[in-house]
Amino acid sequence: MLTNYIFIPIAAAFIAYILNKRNRKAGAVITALVSAYLLLSLTALYGRWDITQSFNLSLMGYKIDFLLAVNPLSWLFAVMTAAISILIALFSINSQENFKFSSVFNLNFLIIIGSMIGIVFARDFLTLFIFWELMTWTSFYLISAGKKKMAGRAAYRYIILSAGAAYAFLMAAIFIFQQTGSFAFDSAAEFLVANSPAQSIMLLLVISLPFIVKAGIFPLHIWVKDAHGNAPKEFSPFLSGMMLKIGIYGMIVVFYQLSFFKIIENTIAYRGLPLLSYLFALLGAVTIITGTILAIRQEDMKKLVAYSSISQMGYIIIGIAIATPLGFSGSMLHLMNHLIFKSTIFLALAAVIYRTGTTKMYEMGGLIFRMPLTFAAYLTAIIALAGIPPTNGFISKWVIYQALIEKGYLFLAIAAFFGSIASFMYVFKPLSTVFLGQLKPQHQNIKEVPLLMKIPMLILILVIVLFGVFPGIQMNIINQISGYLGIETVNYTLYSIQGANGAWNSLLIFNIFSAGFIIALLLFSFAKKSKLVGLLDTYSSGEYITDAESYHYAYQYYRPFDRLFDNLAAKSLTDFYETLTKNLVRSGEGLRRALAAGKLQNYALYSVLLFVILAAVGWII
C-alpha cells in the first residue's frame, strides 16, 4: 500500500516525459496532478502510524527484507515534500516555456518526489540507500540542466561528494548487516548499543556522512552554493527547501532511531551535553557564521539565498544536536518554517528571473512598480526569514533561543544571534537592490507573472502568516514526533508556546502590532495629501543626474562589512577540494610517466620483473 506512494510518481515521470515532448505544459500539469494526489492521500494517512509494508527477497544467498512504515516524523516529511512539489509544479507550468530541458526536468522531478517519499518511509538501510541513490542521480541530472557551464561543474561536484558519502554509507550498512543479519534500523540500533562504543560511534558517523553532505553542514557544504545558484530556477526552491531537509531527516534518524545519543551518553560531557553532540552543535554554529558572512558578499541573488539556506540549516542542526525537548521542537518548527519561507523567496526570485532573465542584483531595480505581488511575497518571506515577530520565522528562532538560554550554551547562542541579526542584512539586500530603488529602462515594460505563478506565492504568503499567528497547528504534529522519538513534549496552545523562561503568545502580539499600525495609519491619513513624484525627481544635493543606472545604489551593498571578512572569504573551502582533485590527476599522470609506458621493451621487462618479484615474495613467505 505504501509502495504506491513511491511508484506512482516514478511511473508518472515517464508519462510526463513522453507527453511533454509534444506540448510544453503537459509535464508540469502531470507533476501538479500527481503531487496533488500525493498530498491528499498522505494527509489522509495522518494518525495511522501502524501501517507497515515489507517484502523480502532472497538474492544470491543474502536474505534481504525491505520494510516501509509510516511514523509521525516520516509523515511530516512526506506531506512537506508533496506540498512543496505541488506548488512548484503549479509555478513551473508556464515558467518553463522557453526552458530547453523542460521534459527532462519533469521526468527527474517526479522521480525525486517518489524517491524522497521512499527515503522517508524506509525503515531499513538498503531501501534508504536505493532511494537515496535514485534521488542523488536524478537531482544530478536536474542541476546540470541549469545555467550552461557552471551548472555542469556544480552538478559534477555535487554528485562526486554525495556518491562518495553514499558509498561509505553502504559500506557501514553492509558491515552492520553482516553483524546483525538484517538491514532494519531497530536491529541495527540494538546491535550498536550493545557494541563497543568506539566502533559504533565510528559506524554511526560514517552512516551520517551522506546526511551531513545533503544537509550542507560546514565541512561538506561547498556544493550548496553552486548547485542552488545554478540549478534551473524552478528546481532551486525544491533543492534548498526540501533536499536540505532530507539530510536533517537522516540526522534525526541517526541521532534518535539509531540511538546515537544513547551511545554517547557516557562519553565525556560539556555542560551536561555529550561532547560529540556538542561538536555537531558547534558544526551547526560554524555553518551559520560562514553561511551568513558569505551570503552578505554575494552579488548573484540565487547564490545569496543559497548561502542563507546553509546558515538557516545551521539553526536546525544546533536545535537537534543539543538534544533538549525545546531544542528539538524548535528545530522542527524552524525546519517547517524554513521550507515555507525559503521556497517563497526562491519562487519570487524565479518569477523575477522569468521576467528579467538575469540573476545579478545590480542589473535590476525598482521592480516593485512592475511586479507588486512578487514583491509582497518576497517581503513576507524575508520578514519571516529575518525572524520578525508576527511571522513564523520568529517563533522557531525564539524557541531555539529559549533552548539555548535554558542550558546556557553561550557560544552557540552568540552564533545564533549573529546569524539572525545578520540575516536582516543579507535579506534586505535583494529587497532594496531588486525591488526598490530605480527602475532600469529595459525593465520598463515587464508585466507581473502570469496567474498560475501567482497562486503558489499567494498560498505561501497566507501559510506564513497563518503559522505566524497560530503555531499550534505545527506544534501538535511536532509533539507527536517527539513522543514517537521518546523526547518529552513541549506544552502549547493553538496560539502560544510555553518556553523555558517565558511564554510566547502570537495572537496577542499580532493584535497589538495591528493596533499600533492602525494608530499610525490614522495619523498618516489625517495629515495633508501628498503629491506623487517620479523616481528620478529626488533631492540629489545639487548634482544633476539623468540616467537610472548611476542613481541606483546596489553594487557591493555592504562593502564596509565585507572588508572585515575579505581575507577569511578568500581562502574558501572549495579551493581545498579543488587542489585535492588536482593532485589525484597529477598522481595518475606521474604514475603513467614513471612506468614509461608506451615502449615495448618496458612491457617485456615488466613481465619478467613480475615473475622475479613474485618468486622472491614466495621465497620469503
Binding site: 544571534f417 532594496s432 502580539i509 499610525a520 495619523l523 498618516f524
Partner: protein
C-alpha cells in the same frame, strides 16, 4: 466591553505621553549640546513646534511603498511601547519577552528602511545599509547581555527582570553587574544613533541619510518614531539596570538622568566610520559582555 474601551484609551494615553516625553527629551538634548558648544540653542519646546509645522506642510511621495514604510515604522514602534513597563503602567509586559522587544524594534527600522530605499535616492540606500551594518554591531553585545540576564534570573519577560531587582537600590543590576551596565550604556548610545555612532544619518556625508527624501508629514512621523524609540530604549535600560520604578514620575526622572548622561557622553566624541564602529562594538563591548556572561554562567 468596557475593558476594551479602557484598554484603547490606555493605548492612546501612553502613545501620546511617550511622544510628548520623547520630543521633550530631544529638545533638552539640543539644549545641552548647544550649552556644551557655548551657544544658547533653540528653546526646549522647539521639537513640538517642528512636528506641528511638519504636519501642516504638504509633502512629496514616491509611491505606495514610501507611505507604507513610514506607517509601518511608526506602527511598529508604538506596538513595542506596550511591552515595556513604564513605572507602574505595565500593559502587556508580563507576556512579551525581552527578545521580542528587540525584534519588534527591528520591525520599525525595517519599515523605515523599506520606505526610504523605495524613494530611489541613493543616499537613502547608503544610509540604510550603514544603519543595518551598525545594528549588527551593537545588537550582538546587547543580546549577549540579555542572554546573561535571562540565564541569571531564569525569566525572559521584562517585568520579571525588573521585579528581580526589587528591594534596596543595592541589588539594581547597575551595582550587581556594573560592567554589564556600562556596556549596555554604550550600546544604548549606538542604538539611539547618538553622536559617535551616527554615521547612518550623518548630514554632512549622505545628506542626513534615510530621511533625505521625506518631508512634511513623513518627516513628522519619523520624528515621532524617533521620539518613541528614545523612550523605549531608555525605559528598557532603566528597567533592566536601574530596577524600574513604582510610579511614572520617578521612572521619567531616571530616564532623564540616563538621557542627559548619554547626550553629554555622545557630544564629546567625533563620528566613527562604519567598519571602525562595528570593530569597536565587537572588540570592547562584546568582549566585556562575553566575560560577564561566562562569569554568570559558571
Amino acid at each position: 466591553m468596557i475593558d476594551i474601551i479602557y484598554r484603547i484609551g490606555h493605548f492612546v494615553l501612553i502613545t501620546v505621553f511617550s511622544m510628548a516625553l520623547g520630543l521633550l527629551f530631544m529638545g533638552i538634548a539640543r539644549k545641552i549640546v548647544a550649552r556644551i558648544q557655548k551657544r544658547y540653542g533653540p528653546p526646549v519646546y522647539q521639537p513640538y513646534l517642528d512636528v506641528l509645522k511638519l504636519f501642516g506642510k504638504d509633502a512629496i511621495t514616491h509611491g505606495f511603498i514610501f507611505d507604507f514604510g513610514a506607517i509601518m515604522a511608526l506602527g511598529g514602534v508604538i506596538a513595542t511601547l506596550f511591552f515595556i513597563p513604564l513605572g507602574s503602567w505595565q500593559l502587556y509586559s508580563m507576556e512579551g519577552t525581552v527578545i521580542l522587544v528587540i525584534y519588534l524594534l527591528a520591525i520599525a527600522s525595517l519599515g523605515m528602511a523599506m520606505g526610504t530605499v523605495g524613494s530611489g535616492n541613493p543616499q537613502a540606500s547608503v544610509g540604510i545599509s550603514r544603519a543595518l551594518m551598525q545594528m549588527l554591531g551593537y545588537e550582538l553585545p546587547y543580546l549577549v547581555i540579555l542572554f546573561a540576564l535571562i540565564y541569571r534570573y531564569q525569566t525572559s519577560s521584562v517585568w520579571g527582570l525588573m521585579q528581580a531587582q526589587a528591594g534596596s537600590f543595592l541589588n539594581w543590576n547597575l551595582f550587581a553587574y556594573p560592567l554589564m551596565a556600562a556596556v549596555a550604556f554604550v550600546v544604548l548610545i549606538g542604538m539611539m544613533g547618538k553622536k559617535p555612532f551616527d554615521s547612518m544619518i550623518a548630514p554632512s556625508e549622505i545628506g542626513s541619510g534615510p530621511v533625505v527624501e521625506s518631508g512634511g508629514k513623513y518627516l513628522g512621523m519619523l520624528l515621532l518614531q524617533k521620539s518613541i524609540t528614545i523612550i523605549i530604549e531608555l525605559a528598557l535600560y532603566v528597567n533592566l539596570f536601574l530596577g524600574g520604578a513604582e510610579n511614572i514620575l520617578i521612572f521619567t526622572f531616571k530616564m532623564l538622568i540616563v538621557w542627559v548622561l548619554a547626550t553629554m557622553f555622545g557630544s564629546l566624541f567625533p563620528r566613527f566610520r562604519i567598519e571602525d564602529g562595528i570593530k569597536f562594538f565587537w572588540k570592547w563591548p562584546l568582549g566585556i559582555a562575553i566575560l560577564q556572561a561566562i562569569y554568570i554562567i559558571t
